[in-house]
């Protein structure tokens, strides 16, 4: 299954790039994600995905297979499996950053191979939620970058800060805060409406249009963690 998505962050490309490479921080921007350990370019990660009543926990390794800092591209491979259960995920994620005035645009392509419950049951929901996940990641990333900017300037409340509780000026605390919010949001938002929509559509459409939410999240995470510059 191949998924493509885009995001935009109002920050210079080098700054976005550098931030994304900071695994400890960027992990918090990915809904439900957690960094468990590093071994060079291989990162051991965990992720929790809760879609309606179905909760899945994955653990796996993300490995950087290609990196080109000048071109702002990278490619990484993810291999994981359910912590409780037999499902597996393998993903290859490719990211390309580009400059558009003061905005940095990111294009993500994820090729995901899923098995188990996520492969069989994530269908329907995935189409609705994957873009939402990417959007949420981008928003979290923007908030973190803008908090960085504010911290660097020694002043709170930078112009253009997104709505929501002001982030801590301490980057580590801000990251933890974002992570908390993201998790709360994740567990609440990816629940009711999307699932109802999927059920209704399920009676009207062929089950062949399918995908798995967890795999996309992992693929996204894989891409992001893979950005770390060694």
């Amino acid at each position: 299954m191949r998924l493509e998505d885009e995001f935009a962050v109002a920050a210079p490309i080098q700054e976005v790039y550098a931030t994304i490479l900071d695994v400890e921080r960027v992990t918090g921007c990915v809904p439900g994600a957690e960094l468990l350990g590093n071994d060079g370019d291989v990162h051991n990660v965990g992720i929790r995905v809760k879609v309606g009543p179905i909760s899945m926990q994955y653990r796996g390794d993300v490995e950087i297979v290609e990196r080109d800092e000048a071109a702002h591209t990278a490619k990484m491979r993810v291999k994981g499996r359910e912590v409780r259960g037999q499902g597996t995920v393998e993903a290859t994620a490719q990211l390309r950053l580009s400059e558009d005035g003061s905005t940095t645009r990111g294009a993500i392509e994820v090729e995901v191979a899923l098995s188990g419950r996520a492969a069989s049951m994530g269908q329907g929901a995935i189409q609705d939620v994957s873009s939402k996940l990417v959007g949420r990641f981008a928003r979290n990333l923007a908030r973190m970058l803008e908090a960085d900017g504010a911290a660097a300037a020694g002043a709170a409340g930078a112009a253009g800060a997104p709505a929501g509780e002001p982030l801590s000026s301490d980057p580590a605390a801000a990251a933890a805060q974002v992570e908390r919010e993201v998790r709360d949001e994740d567990e609440n938002a990816i629940s009711g409406r999307e699932i109802v929509g999927a059920v209704v559509r399920g009676r009207l459409s062929s089950p062949l249009v399918s995908a798995g939410l967890a795999g996309v999240t992992l693929g996204l995470l894989g891409f992001l963690l893979g950005r770390r510059a060694g």
């Binding site: 299954m1 359910e82 409780r84 259960g85 037999q86 499902g87 597996t88 393998e90 191979a113 899923l114 098995s115 188990g116 492969a119 069989s120 049951m121 269908q123 329907g124 999927a198 059920v199 399920g202 009676r203 009207l204 459409s205 062929s206 089950p207 062949l208 399918s210």
Partner: protein
């Protein structure tokens, strides 16, 4: 017709006798597998492969075994050696078959393949532990898709260097080619049928109890076939057959999925023997959709030669079936049966065929209510394609080709011999009941208003009661107990189709006793004589036949004894409502119960040489097949804006011979039609290209609801068969005929738009896509 007939005391056969099993089932007192609770019983669950095809690199049980309450976990290498390998084998010359084992060993071959069995004190613990079993897989190329399997570079099975499981063709026939060459029209079309699941309301499950002292295995099975189960467990577990007892109580449907016991059920029995304790396994719905056997998944290409009058002069059928990884029937079965039955109700003089089955890394195929029914799907949709192509009315083209009474006896090109059938009559009866001409007028008016109504016809002959090998005979012990109450012991395996009512109707008629005084005991190999269970619409013909034979034999003894007691000739006696009377002398009578009591307790009053007691056992070997015939006609409206298909009217004209109980007959048809509606409009067990099943909940595997199933009207034609009682089978016909009727109705509705319908399910998105395709063509 659906008139309510009140049974007279003397004649229950033919009456709409209320189902004897319903008070129990409808009040929640049915005894299904999950109702079986034995002291010390443990619970099983399975660790299943998430991948369609992979090497098993390592299995780590450490964390799972540490869960409190876990009793044992075994993988294939630990458990399979307890059973014979293979568990079943349908290999033959040019037809390879995989080595079937209880659990996967070394590699996995479909998503859902059982890899390990977990036994624990309850199901919760078992499930928790199963999640912690750590299996490392090395993915391999999966073979998925019936049209891709043969050319795939992957192999569905280790040790079988081809994915072709069976391939055969009729001999080259120059006369067939000559007939095609002489035809006014030659039309070719391919019809596809998606993968279905039988979806019994009660999934698979069993309780196995190995009793160490008695060295006996008792199995409570959710089955169709307890005696064949007994033979199976004895064989694969190396037990003498008389040390195995199979008990089958209420069964929540099977429809073919439960004819044979499966790998998981075998593993549970092996686990019970190892532990010396009862072990229960109840399959959950996800497992049933993913790993219980599937059905259909096939296609058929028909090439038809037609003369200028619409008479079909030549036909060639080519069938391709995906039988999955571990089919529960020989790989040739879906194709060979479909091809062999295809000529159906028509006079097809020249016929040729070719068939192929392929293994894939998907759940294996099993029988499902008319497992050969692709022949009706393809042939009946093709009849409409031909009718449209040459400009003949679809009812009329069937009239021109259908076998008429004066054609009988008739032998099909494949050697089936029809004698007592009435396909022309059921066709006409169904057309008349639905109001064919009137509908055509309504359809024309609707089209003028921009509404799309359609009518579809499906005509077929159903081979029922196929009698051979283990299913060739049926037995009935009819026993009048000392109180005069009657037990009927049979080897039938009712999984919901009313045998407790119909067999009792047959016996009560012959013995002349109230129906309440007769009871059927079935499904326990320790109680009932050997029987072939239920499959292939065999119960009415073979079981009904032998119940009648055995009851008649016992009636003769009852009358002989009563005549001796009344000092009258047996021929002068009649039995009605439990009393035996000398004809014409109402004062000279004896109660049936008194005769019974004397037969057991007062042997000195028996005629010289008569054995005490009142019991008769008979066995009946039926003809190879008994033919029923039917036409289904339905009408529908298609909403071309939303793609929704709404069935408006539904008529089934059926000839299943002498009906034991018209209500039961109609119930059988209705259930089958509902399943056919599901197949035509909703159901699809899809796989993605890597072999992930995509419909393992009812959110994705869509079953018909009361919203989708219209009221069905029935027209009965009764042409008695030449078997005892004159019955024919009726279990599968509803499901056989419905999909083609519905597809034809949709195609008829959309014909003005140039839509051609050749596959299912006709879900709204597919209907809209077909309309778009036709518009852009």
């Amino acid at each position: 017709m659906s008139t309510v007939e009140k049974p007279s005391a003397a004649r229950f056969v033919g009456a709409r006798v209320q189902r004897r099993e319903d008070p129990r089932l409808l009040s929640g007192h049915g005894q299904y597998i999950d109702d079986v609770r034995l002291p010390g019983m443990l619970h099983a669950t399975f660790v299943r492969s998430p991948l369609a095809r992979a090497r098993i690199v390592a299995i780590d049980l450490e964390h799972a075994l540490a869960v409190p309450g876990v009793v044992a976990i075994w993988d294939g290498s630990a458990l399979n050696g307890d059973a014979a390998t293979p568990l079943w084998d349908w290999a033959g010359e040019g037809t390879p078959f995989p080595e079937v084992r209880a659990l996967a060993e070394g590699d996995v071959r479909f998503a859902g393949d059982p890899v390990a069995i977990v036994i624990a004190r309850d199901r919760y613990v078992a499930e928790d532990a199963a999640e912690l079993v750590d299996v490392e897989y090395e993915p391999l190329q999966a073979v998925v898709g019936r049209e891709l399997a043969e050319a795939s570079t992957g192999r569905a099975h280790d040790g079988i260097d081809t994915n072709v499981a069976w391939s055969a063709a009729s001999p080259t026939d120059p006369a067939l080619e000559a007939a095609f060459a002489a035809s006014a029209h030659v039309i070719t079309e391919t019809f596809r049928q998606q993968r279905h699941v039988n979806v019994p309301m009660e999934p698979r499950g069993l309780v196995a109890h190995w009793e160490r002292g008695a060295e006996q295995l008792t199995v409570y099975a959710s089955s169709q076939n307890p005696h064949q189960d007994r033979e199976y467990f004895a064989r694969v577990m190396g037990l003498p057959e008389h040390h195995v007892r199979v008990i089958m109580r209420d069964v929540g449907g099977g429809f073919g999925q439960k004819i044979f016991r499966t790998r998981e059920e075998t593993a549970v029995a092996l686990a019970s023997r190892r532990l010396g304790r009862p072990v229960k396994w109840i399959e959950d719905r996800q497992e049933n959709l993913m790993a219980a056997n599937h059905a259909r998944d096939e296609q058929m290409t028909l090439r038809v030669g037609v003369d200028a009058d619409g008479v079909i002069t030549a036909i060639h059928a080519s069938h391709l079936a995906d039988v999955g990884a571990y089919p529960l029937m020989p790989a040739m079965m879906p194709g060979f049966m479909a091809l062999e039955v295809l000529p159906g109700p028509y006079r097809f003089a020249r016929y040729g065929w070719a068939g192929k089955s392929v293994f894939t890394n998907t759940s294996g195929i099993s029988a499902y209510r008319g497992p050969w029914m692709m022949e009706t799907v393809a042939r009946e949709i093709m009849m409409d394609v031909v009718a449209r192509e040459i400009g003949v009315d679809p009812a009329e083209i069937r009239r021109r080709n259908v076998i008429q009474t004066e054609d009988l006896p008739y032998t099909t090109p494949t050697g089936r011999e029809y004698d007592r059938i009435s396909p022309a009559q059921t066709l006409e009866a169904a057309l008349e009941e639905i109001g064919y001409e009137r509908f055509r007028e309504e359809q024309a008016r609707a089209r003028a208003e921009g509404r799309y109504l359609g009518l579809g016809i499906s005509t077929y002959i159903e081979p029922t009661a196929g009698a051979q090998g283990p299913t060739g005979i049926e037995a009935a012990t009819v026993r009048v107990e000392p109180s005069g109450k009657v037990n009927v012991l049979m080897g039938t395996g009712s999984h919901g189709h009313s045998l407790e009512t119909t067999m009792v109707q047959v016996v009560a008629d012959q013995l002349g006793v109230p129906i309440e005084d007769v009871r059927l005991l079935q499904g326990d190999t320790a109680v009932s004589p050997y029987g072939g269970g239920t499959a292939g619409s065999r119960s009415a013909v073979i079981a009904g036949g032998v119940a009648r034979i055995s009851a008649i034999k016992l009636r003769e003894k009852v009358l002989e004894l009563a005549g001796h007691l009344l000092e009258a000739a047996a021929a002068d006696l009649e039995i009605e409502d439990g009393t035996i009377t000398v004809k014409g002398s109402p004062g000279s009578s004896i109660a049936f119960a008194d005769v019974a009591r004397i037969a057991y307790y007062d042997p000195s009053r028996l005629p010289e040489g008569m054995e005490p007691g009142l019991e008769s056992t008979s066995r009946y070997s039926a003809p190879p097949a008994t033919y029923a015939n039917s036409t289904q006609v339905c009408t529908c409206e298609v909403d071309v804006a939303t793609g929704e298909v709404r069935l408006l009217d539904y008529v089934v004209g059926e000839d299943c011979g002498v009906m034991i109980n018209p209500m039961v007959v109609e119930g059988q048809i209705a259930g089958g039609v509902a399943q056919g509606i599901g197949g035509a409009l909703l159901e699809h067990l899809a796989y993605d290209e890597t072999g992930n099943p995509l419909a393992i909940t009812f959110k994705d595997y869509l079953l018909p609801t009361t919203e989708d199933v219209p009221d069905i009207r029935y027209v009965h034609v009764e042409t008695p068969s030449n078997t005892p009682g004159g019955h024919k089978g009726v279990g599968e016909g509803g499901a056989i005929g419905a999909p083609a009727a519905i597809v034809n109705a949709v195609a008829d509705a959309l014909a003005p738009l140039g839509v051609r319908v050749t596959s299912q399910p006709l879900s709204p998105d597919r209907v809209l896509a077909m309309i778009d395709d036709a518009r852009s063509a």
